[in-house]
C-alpha cells in the first residue's frame, strides 16, 4: 500500500506528467480570462483561498513530508542541509500565495458590497507612522530573525563535503538553489540562451511590469477580480517557471541530471535514452531522406522561418484575433513589448514539450557559429 503510493507519487513526478498537470491546473486556479474564471468558480477552486483550505492544504503538505521522511531515499534528499531551505520554500511560497489571494478575495467581496477594502485605514491622509511603529516592528523582526538564524546554524551546521577536485566533480553538480531554475533551462536551451538571453529577458520583463500594467482598477490593495490576467501571467512566471523548476532541480534531478521520483534511489548508473536531433535533421533526414545540405542557410532556413514567424507574425495575428481587447487597451508599443516577452517566456514550455514528444534538440542549430535556438 505504502509502496504503491510511493510508486504513484514517483510516477506523477515524471516531468511530463508533473509539468503538464501543472500547466493545465494552473489556469483554473489563476484564471486569466472570464471563461477560465467561470470554470474556476464552477470547479470550486475559489475555495482554495479560504482559511479552512489553508489548514487542509498545510496539513496535507505536512502529512506528505512526515510520510516521506519515513522513506530513506526521500529522507536522504530532503534532509541534506542544503535542501532543507527548499522544503521551507515550499511552505513559505504556499503561505504567501495563500495570504495574498485570501486578502484579494476578501477585498473583492468588500468592493462588491460597496465597503472599503482592508488596506484602507481610517487614518488621516492615509498615513502610518514610521516612528515609532514601523521601526519598532522592524526591530522586533530583526531580533526574532537573528534568533531564528542562530538556532538554525546550531541545529543544522554547515555540512562538510569532499574537497574540491577538478578530476572528480560531484554528481549531480548542482547550482545554488536560487539558480536551479536556470540550470533546468539548460536542459532545453543552448547555454547562451538559458544563461544569458532568457535571464536578461526576465530582468527586463520585471522592470517593464509597471509600464505594461496600465489597469487602474484594483491597484493599491490586494485584489483579484480586476487583475486576473496580470496575476495569472505573473504567477505563471513566478510559481511555475521559477519555483517549480527550483523544486524539480532540487528534489527530482539526480545523478547525471536524470529525473528521479522523490522516493527513488539515486542510482548513478541509471540510464536514460537521450538521443536528440535538430529540426533540420527532422526535415532533411527523416522526412525528405536526402541528407543534410552543406549550406548552413539552406539547412537552417526552416528553423529560421519558424522562429521569425513565432516572433514576427504571431503577434499581429493575435492582435487581430484573440488579443484584440488587450491590443486596444495597451496600444502598439506596449503590446509589442508585452507580446514578445510573453512569447519568449512561452518558449520554455514549448521546448520542453518538443523535447519530450519529438526528441527535438534545437530548432535552429548552427554549431559552426555557436548559435543554437
Amino acid at each position: 500500500m505504502m509502496e504503491a503510493f510511493k510508486h504513484l507519487i514517483d510516477t506523477l513526478s515524471k516531468p511530463t506528467i508533473l509539468v503538464s498537470f501543472t500547466f493545465i491546473i494552473f489556469f483554473f486556479v489563476f484564471p486569466p480570462t472570464d471563461w477560465f474564471d467561470k470554470w474556476h468558480r464552477r470547479l470550486k477552486f475559489d475555495g482554495l483561498w479560504s482559511v479552512k483550505s489553508f489548514w487542509i492544504i498545510t496539513a496535507l503538505l505536512v502529512g506528505f513530508f512526515v510520510f516521506g521522511l519515513g522513506d530513506s531515499d526521500f529522507r536522504s534528499i530532503m534532509l541534506k542541509p542544503d535542501n532543507v531551505p527548499i522544503a521551507g520554500l515550499i511552505f513559505l511560497v504556499f503561505f504567501f500565495t495563500w495570504l495574498s489571494m485570501n486578502q484579494a478575495y476578501n477585498n473583492d467581496k468588500l468592493v462588491e458590497a460597496g465597503q472599503p477594502v482592508d488596506e484602507q485605514y481610517d487614518a488621516p491622509n492615509d498615513k502610518i507612522l514610521v516612528w515609532p511603529d514601523l521601526v519598532y516592528i522592524e526591530l522586533i523582526t530583526i531580533i526574532l530573525f537573528s534568533a531564528f538564524m542562530l538556532v538554525w546554524s546550531i541545529g543544522l551546521p554547515a555540512p562538510l563535503e569532499e574537497p574540491a577536485n577538478p578530476s572528480e566533480s560531484p554528481n549531480p553538480a548542482k547550482a545554488p538553489w536560487y539558480f536551479l531554475g536556470l540550470q533546468e533551462m539548460l536542459v532545453y536551451f543552448d547555454p547562451w540562451m538559458a544563461g544569458v538571453v532568457l535571464p536578461s529577458l526576465i530582468i527586463v520583463g520585471l522592470m517593464a511590469i509597471p509600464y505594461l500594467d496600465n489597469v487602474k482598477e484594483g491597484s493599491g490593495y490586494y485584489s483579484f477580480k480586476d487583475r486576473k490576467l496580470s496575476i495569472a501571467i505573473f504567477m505563471f512566471g513566478w510559481l511555475v517557471l521559477w519555483n517549480l523548476l527550483i523544486v524539480i532541480g532540487t528534489v527530482l534531478r539526480g545523478p547525471n541530471w536524470n529525473f528521479f521520483g522523490p522516493f527513488e534511489y539515486w542510482d548513478s548508473h541509471k540510464i536514460e535514452a537521450l538521443t536528440n536531433i535538430n529540426l533540420s535533421e527532422f526535415i532533411y533526414v527523416k522526412w525528405m531522406s536526402s541528407g543534410l545540405p552543406g549550406n548552413i542557410l539552406i539547412r537552417e532556413i526552416w528553423g529560421m522561418v519558424l522562429v521569425l514567424g513565432y516572433f514576427m507574425i504571431l503577434p499581429p495575428l493575435l492582435a487581430k484575433t484573440w488579443l484584440k481587447n488587450l491590443f486596444d487597451r495597451l496600444g502598439v508599443a506596449r503590446y509589442s513589448l508585452f507580446i514578445v516577452l510573453i512569447l519568449a517566456a512561452l518558449t520554455l514550455p514549448i521546448k520542453m514539450y518538443l523535447r519530450w514528444m519529438f526528441n527535438l534538440k534545437y530548432i535552429i542549430s548552427i554549431p559552426e557559429y555557436f548559435f543554437n535556438f
Binding site: 516592528i137 526591530l139 522586533i140 531580533i143 537573528s146 542562530l150 538556532v151 574540491a164
Partner: protein
C-alpha cells in the same frame, strides 16, 4: 500634524513583543556559547584527568614506599636532622652574617647607581672632547671635564668592587655554615627525584592538592568564554609541516588532534586503561620520543589515516574492523561513516598497509608480518603480472615457461589443468578462469569448453621440442623419497599435500616457492622429470629451479619416486570434443571487433579447424592474460591487461564500481577489494533475495576476467593490506629511512633472497629455515623420534644459519662457493644448489648485502698471518689438543675421531674461508652467534692457578695464561695454520656408506652420563 499620543499599534503590546523577543534572543545567544563550550572531547579529557590523578597517586604511593624501605634514604634523613640542628645552633652567627650582607648590599646598590651616573657623564665628556679635537668647542675645558670624570668614575668603580668583595665574603661565610644542610638536602632530592616529580605533577593536575588560589584558577580557566586564554581542557594537536594532506589543489600540513581524546597514547602506564586512553601498544616503535617514529614528527594519521583534524568520534573518520564492531559503535557512539572523507581511518586489520608508504624497498617483516605476507602473496600469485605495480618491474613471472610444453605434458592434462587447476592440486597458485560465477551457466560452459581447447592447441602448436636423455635405469623409488626428504628439495617444495594449516606465514609460503610435488604420475613422464631435475636450465633458461648436481642414479631414483604417485580420479575426467560450430562463434566474436560481418565470414571460411583453434587460442591467451605469468612464444612484449595498482590505495572510492553490491558490503575501498579478490567476477552479477545471483547482460568478451585465486580470509586480508598501502602520498625524504649504502645494499639483497627463496633453507636474523620441520621428520625416519626432537641435532642437519655471515666469511671464498658449492659440514645431506641463473652482479649484491648488514664495510682485507714457532701458535696447539677438536673436525684428510653424527667442517678450510676476527668472536661464545650449535666454547684455562696450568698445559700456555684474549687468539692462530686437502667429500661418502651416522638410538632410559 500628528500628535504624540497618536498610534496605530498598541505600544504596550509592542513592548511586550519586544521584551519576549529580546529574552528569547538572549537565551539563544547563551545557547550559542553553551553549544560552543560543550565539545564531545571534553568529557574524555575530564575522565582522563581523573585517571591520571589516580595513577599519579598510586605511583606516589609506590615511590614513597620504596623510599621508606630504602636504607640510604633513612640514613640521609637522619643526616638532614643533624644538619638542621647544626644550623640552628649557629643561628646567631648566621643572623649576624645575614645582617651584614643586607647592609653591604644596600651600600653597593647606592654606589653602583652613582657609578652609572658618572659613567654616563664620562661618555658625554668623551664625545665633547672628540668634538673639540675636531674644532668644535673649547678644547681646554673639555679636557678638564674629561679628566675629572675619568678620575671620579674610576674611584666609584673601585669602591663598588671593594664592597662586592665584602658581600662575597659574607655570603661565603653563610654558605659554610649551611653547607651540610644543603648537601643533605641535595642528596635527598637526588634519591627522591622520581617521587618529587610525581608530587609536582600531582599538584598541577589534582585540585585537592592545589593551593587555594590555584584551586580558583583551576576553575576559572575553564569557565565558558574565559576559556580562550589558557584552559586546562583544550584541543591538543601536533602539526607536521612536511607531511601534507592532499587537498587536490594544494598540500596542507598535517594536523593531528587524535591525542585530544587519546590522551594516554604516548604515555607509558596506561596499557590497561580503557579506550580512548590506552597507551599505544607498541610505544617503543611508534610515538615514543626516542622511538623511530616520534609523535610530533610523524603524527597519527600518516599511518592510521582518518581525519586528523576531527575532534569527535565520527568526524575523525574511525573505521570498524568488522560488522559486529560497526554495530556496537552505532549503538554506543552513534557512529556512521564520514561520507565525504576519502581517506577514512584504516581498520586495525589493515593498518600495516601504511608501512609500505615508506618501507616499500625493505618490508620490516617483524613489525609488519601481515604486509610481508601480502607482498609475498602478490609475488607468488603474480598479481603484478596483470596489474602494473611499482617495484615489481624486475620480478620474474611466477608461472613456468610454456615454450617446450609438449615434451612435459599431454593435451588432455593441459586441458583439465587449465580448466580447473585446483582439482588437481589443491593449493596451486594457478588461478581459476573457468566455471566461475559469471561463466558457469550451460551456455557459457559450452563456449569455455572450446576456449580451453583453443588455448591448449595454441600452446602445443607453438611448443618447441626438448631433447631428452634416456633414463639409465628404472630407479629406486624408496631411495628417491629419502633423497627428496634429505637433499633440500623441501626448502621450496611440498610433497605431502596441503600443509598450510590454520595460520599462514611467509615461512609456510617459502615452501610453496616451487609447485607441490604430488600426483606427478598423472601429469608427466619419468623421463621428463629425470631430464628436468638433472638440468633445469636445459628445459627452461628462465626457471628459478636451481641445479642440485644430482648424479644419474640419484635423478633416476627421484624421478621413480615422483612418478609413482597419480590421481586416478583426475585422469578419468573426460575432455569434451572439439565443437567447430561453437569455435566459429568464438572466432567470429573475436574477429568482428575489427572486421565487418562479411569479412568475418570470409576469413572463417578460409580457415581450417587447426587454424581456427590457433587463432582463437592466441587471442584468448591475450584476453585472459596467460602471458602475465607464463612465458609464451608470441607474447614477449604484450602489455599487462589489468588495472595498474601502483596507486590503487589512493583511488577515489567513486571510481570503484560497487554495481549491485552497493547495499551488500560496506562502502569502503577495503571491502570492495576484499570482495573482488574473494570472487573476482562478482560485480558482473545481480544479487537476489535468496542469495543466488543473476548475471548482467554482457557479451562473453566483455565479462570480467580476473581469475579466482581461492584465497582464504587471511590471504585476502594480507593482500588487501598491500593494496591499501599502494598510495600516491608524497613522503618527504626526511621521513623516509635514510638511503645509506647499507640500506640500499640490504634492500637489493632482500629482493634477491626473496626471489631465489634463500630463506627456504637458511635462517637469516631469526627468519627463514622453512625446511627445518622436514629435516626433523627425515631424522625421525632415518634415526628415531628422540633424535628428531633434539633441537641442536636437527639444527646440525639443517642448512646453515647465515647470521654474521658478512663478518664471518671472506668474500672471495664466498663468491667461489656460490659459483661452485663444495662440502663444508660433512654430516649434511642438504645440498647448496648451483644457482646457474644468478649472475656475477647478483652474487656480488648478495655478498655486499651480508657484509654491510653485519657491519663489514670493507670487502678486501690484508690476510691474517701466523708465525708457526711463536709462543702463541704453540700454545694454540696445546689448547686444540686439550679441547680435542679432532673429535669432530676434519684436519685435511684426517677423519674426526667421533661418529659422523657430530662432524664439523674441515679445519683446513678455515684459512681461506673465515675472517680471523670473526673466528675470535666464534671461539669466545659459539652459542651467541649460532644458538643451539653443537660446537662447544673451547676451554681456556685462565682461571686455573698458574702452576697447575704450567704443569698440565705446558709453558707456552702458561706464558699467556693471564690473558684469555691471547689464549683464544692462540687457538685461532693454530687452526689458521691447519692445512691439507679441503675437499673430503669422497672420504665422507665412503664413511657414511660403511658406518652410517652412528645415531644413538634410545631403547631404554639411558642417563646423559652414559653417553
Amino acid at each position: 500634524m500628528t500628535n504624540q499620543q497618536e498610534r496605530y499599534y498598541n505600544i504596550l503590546k509592542l513592548n511586550k513583543w519586544f521584551a519576549i523577543s529580546s529574552l528569547l534572543f538572549a537565551f539563544i545567544w547563551l545557547l550559542t556559547f553553551a553549544n560552543d563550550f560543550n565539545r564531545p572531547w571534553k568529557k574524555y579529557q575530564i575522565e582522563f584527568r581523573e585517571l591520571e590523578i589516580e595513577k599519579t597517586r598510586a605511583d606516589i604511593k609506590v615511590a614513597s614506599e620504596s623510599l621508606e624501605s630504602n636504607e640510604d634514604y633513612s640514613a640521609l634523613k637522619s643526616k638532614l636532622e643533624v644538619a638542621k640542628n647544626e644550623v640552628e645552633s649557629n643561628q646567631e652567627e648566621i643572623d649576624s652574617f645575614q645582617e651584614k650582607v643586607q647592609v653591604l648590599e644596600a651600600e653597593l646598590y647606592a654606589i653602583n647607581q652613582n657609578y652609572q651616573f658618572a659613567k654616563a657623564d664620562l661618555d658625554v665628556a668623551k664625545y665633547n672632547f672628540e668634538q673639540a679635537q675636531h674644532g668644535h668647542g673649547d678644547l681646554e675645558s673639555a679636557t678638564k671635564t674629561l679628566n675629572n670624570l675619568m678620575v671620579l668614575t674610576g674611584a666609584r668603580k673601585l669602591k663598588a668592587e671593594i664592597i662586592k668583595g665584602k658581600v662575597e665574603e659574607a655570603n661565603n661565610g653563610l654558605k659554610t655554615l649551611r653547607q651540610s644542610l644543603k648537601e643533605a638536602n641535595d642528596a635527598i632530592s637526588a634519591i627522591a627525584r622520581d617521587k618529587n616529580l610525581l608530587d609536582r605533577k600531582l599538584v598541577k593536575i589534582d585540585p585537592e592538592e592545589m593551593t587555594f588560589s590555584n584551586k580558583i584558577a583551576n576553575v576559572v580557566r575553564d569557565i565558558p568564554v574565559l576559556d580562550f586564554i589558557d584552559p586546562y581542557y583544550e584541543v591538543k594537536q601536533v602539526v607536521i609541516k612536511d607531511i601534507e594532506d592532499d587537498m587536490v589543489f594544494m598540500g596542507v600540513p598535517k594536523v593531528d588532534r587524535c591525542m585530544t581524546c587519546h590522551m594516554g597514547i604516548d604515555k607509558k602506564g596506561f596499557e590497561d586503561a580503557p579506550q580512548p586512553y590506552t597507551t599505544h601498544p607498541n610505544i617503543d616503535l611508534y610515538l615514543g620520543a626516542s622511538s623511530p617514529h616520534p609523535m610530533n614528527e610523524y603524527g597519527c594519521t600518516g599511518c592510521h589515516a582518518g581525519r586528523g583534524r576531527g575532534t569527535d568520534f565520527i568526524s575523525s573518520a574511525h573505521s570498524p574492523d568488522n560488522d559486529e564492531m560497526a554495530n556496537r559503535w552505532e549503538k554506543e557512539l552513534g557512529w556512521h561513516p564520514l561520507h565525504h572523507w576519502e581517506t577514512p581511518m584504516l581498520p586495525m586489520k589493515y593498518v600495516e598497509a601504511s608501512c609500505l608508504k615508506c618501507h616499500s624497498g625493505s618490508i620490516p617483516s617483524k613489525a609488519a608480518p601481515k604486509l610481508d605476507l601480502g607482498m609475498t602473496i602478490v609475488e607468488k600469485g603474480g598479481c603484478f603480472g596483470c596489474h602494473q605495480i611499482d617495484g615489481f618491474e624486475n620480478v620474474p613471472r611466477p608461472g613456468p615457461g610454456l615454450r617446450k610444453i609438449k615434451s612435459k605434458i599431454n593435451k588432455d592434462f593441459a586441458y583439465k589443468w587449465i580448466y580447473e587447476p585446483r582439482s588437481f592440486r589443491e593449493n596451486s597458485w594457478m588461478p581459476h578462469f573457468f566455471k566461475q560465477i559469471n561463466n558457469d551457466d550451460p551456455i557459457s560452459v559450452k563456449r569455455t569448453d572450446q576456449e580451453v581447447h583453443a588455448i591448449v592447441s595454441y600452446l602445443f602448436d607453438k611448443s618447441k621440442s626438448f631433447k631428452m636423455d634416456r633414463l639409465p635405469n628404472q630407479g629406486d623409488a624408496d631411495n628417491g623419497r629419502l633423497l627428496i626428504n634429505s637433499i633440500g628439495c623441501l626448502g621450496c617444495h611440498n610433497i605431502e599435500g596441503d600443509e598450510r594449516g590454520a595460520s599462514l606465514s611467509v615461512n609456510v609460503l617459502r615452501r610453496e616457492h616451487g609447485p607441490e610435488l604430488i600426483k606427478l604420475g598423472s601429469k608427466t613422464t619419468q623421463r621428463w622429470i629425470y631430464n628436468w631435475i638433472r638440468d633445469p636450465q636445459k628445459y627452461s633458461s628462465e626457471t628459478k629451479m636451481p641445479n642440485m648436481r644430482l648424479s644419474k642414479q640419484e635423478a633416476a631414483d627421484i624421478s621413480a619416486y615422483l612418478i609413482s604417485q597419480n590421481d586416478v580420479e583426475f585422469e578419468q575426467n573426460t575432455v569434451p570434443t572439439v565443437d567447430e560450430n561453437e569455435l566459429n562463434m568464438i572466432a567470429s566474436d573475436l574477429l568482428s571487433s575489427t572486421l565487418r560481418q562479411d569479412e568475418v565470414e570470409a576469413r572463417l571460411n578460409g580457415m581450417g579447424l587447426d587454424e581456427k583453434l590457433d587463432y582463437v587460442g592466441g587471442k584468448l591467451i591475450r584476453q585472459y592474460g596467460c602471458f602475465s605469468c607464463h612465458n609464451i612464444d608470441g607474447f614477449e612484449d604484450a602489455k599487462p591487461i589489468g588495472t595498474p595498482l601502483s596507486t590503487e590505495g589512493s583511488k577515489l572510492i567513486a571510481k570503484l564500481d560497487f554495481g549491485y553490491f552497493h547495499d551488500e558490503i560496506p562502502h569502503t575501498k577495503w571491502d570492495w577489494f576484499n570482495l573482488k579478490i574473494d570472487n573476482p567476477r562478482i560485480f558482473d552479477m545481480i544479487p537476489q533475495e535468496d542469495d543466488s545471483y543473476k548475471i548482467k547482460i554482457k557479451s562473453p568478451l566483455d565479462k570480467l576476467r580476473m581469475p579466482h585465486f581461492g584465497m582464504n580470509n587471511q590471504e585476502r586480508e594480507a593482500t588487501v593490506t598491500v593494496m591499501m598501502g599502494l598510495v600516491k602520498d608524497e613522503i618527504p625524504p626526511s621521513k623516509l629511512p635514510s638511503k645509506t649504502e647499507r640500506y640500499l645494499a640490504i634492500e637489493t639483497g632482500e629482493i634477491l633472497i626473496m626471489q631465489y627463496n634463500c630463506k627456504g633453507c637458511h635462517s637469516i636474523d631469526g627468519d627463514g629455515d622453512a625446511i627445518q620441520p622436514t629435516i626433523a621428520s627425515w631424522l625421525s625416519e632415518i634415526a628415531d623420534k628422540t633424535t628428531a626432537e633434539d633441537k641442536s641435532l636437527v639444527l646440525s642437519f639443517s642448512p646453515p644459519m647465515l647470521d654474521t655471515e658478512g663478518r664471518k666469511i671472506q668474500p672471495n671464498w664466498l663468491f667461489k662457493f656460490f659459483n661452485n658449492p663444495t662440502m663444508i659440514r660433512p654430516n649434511l645431506q642438504v645440498r647448496m644448489p648451483s644457482f646457474e641463473m644468478i649472475s656475477d652482479k647478483e652474487w656480488n649484491s648478495l655478498i655486499k648485502y651480508f657484509q654491510l648488514k653485519d657491519g663489514q664495510t670493507i670487502p678486501y682485507e690484508t690476510p691474517h698471518t701466523i708465525v708457526k714457532n711463536s709462543t702463541k701458535y704453540k700454545a694454540g696447539e696445546v689448547i686444540q689438543e686439550m679441547g680435542a677438536c679432532d673429535n669432530c673436525h676434519f684436519y685435511g684428510n684426517q677423519k674426526p675421531k667421533q661418529a659422523a653424527l657430530t662432524w664439523g667442517p674441515n679445519l683446513a678450510l678455515v684459512k681461506e674461508r673465515l675472517r680471523s676476527e670473526w673466528l675470535i668472536e666464534w671461539y669466545r661464545d659459539p652459542q651467541a652467534i649460532m644458538p643451539g650449535t653443537k660446537m662447544p666454547a673451547p676451554y681456556i684455562p685462565w682461571e686455573e692457578p698458574i702452576d697447575d696450568v704450567k704443569e698440565s698445559w705446558g709453558k707456552n700456555v702458561a706464558k699467556l695464561h693471564s690473558n684469555p684474549e691471547k689464549l683464544i687468539e692462540a687457538l685461532r692462530d693454530y687452526t689458521w695454520g691447519i692445512s691439507g686437502p679441503t675437499d673430503v667429500s669422497r672420504i665422507v661418502k665412503a664413511h657414511l656408506a660403511s658406518e652410517g651416522y652412528g645415531f644413538v638410538i634410545e631403547e631404554d632410559d639411558w642417563g646423559d652420563e652414559d653417553w
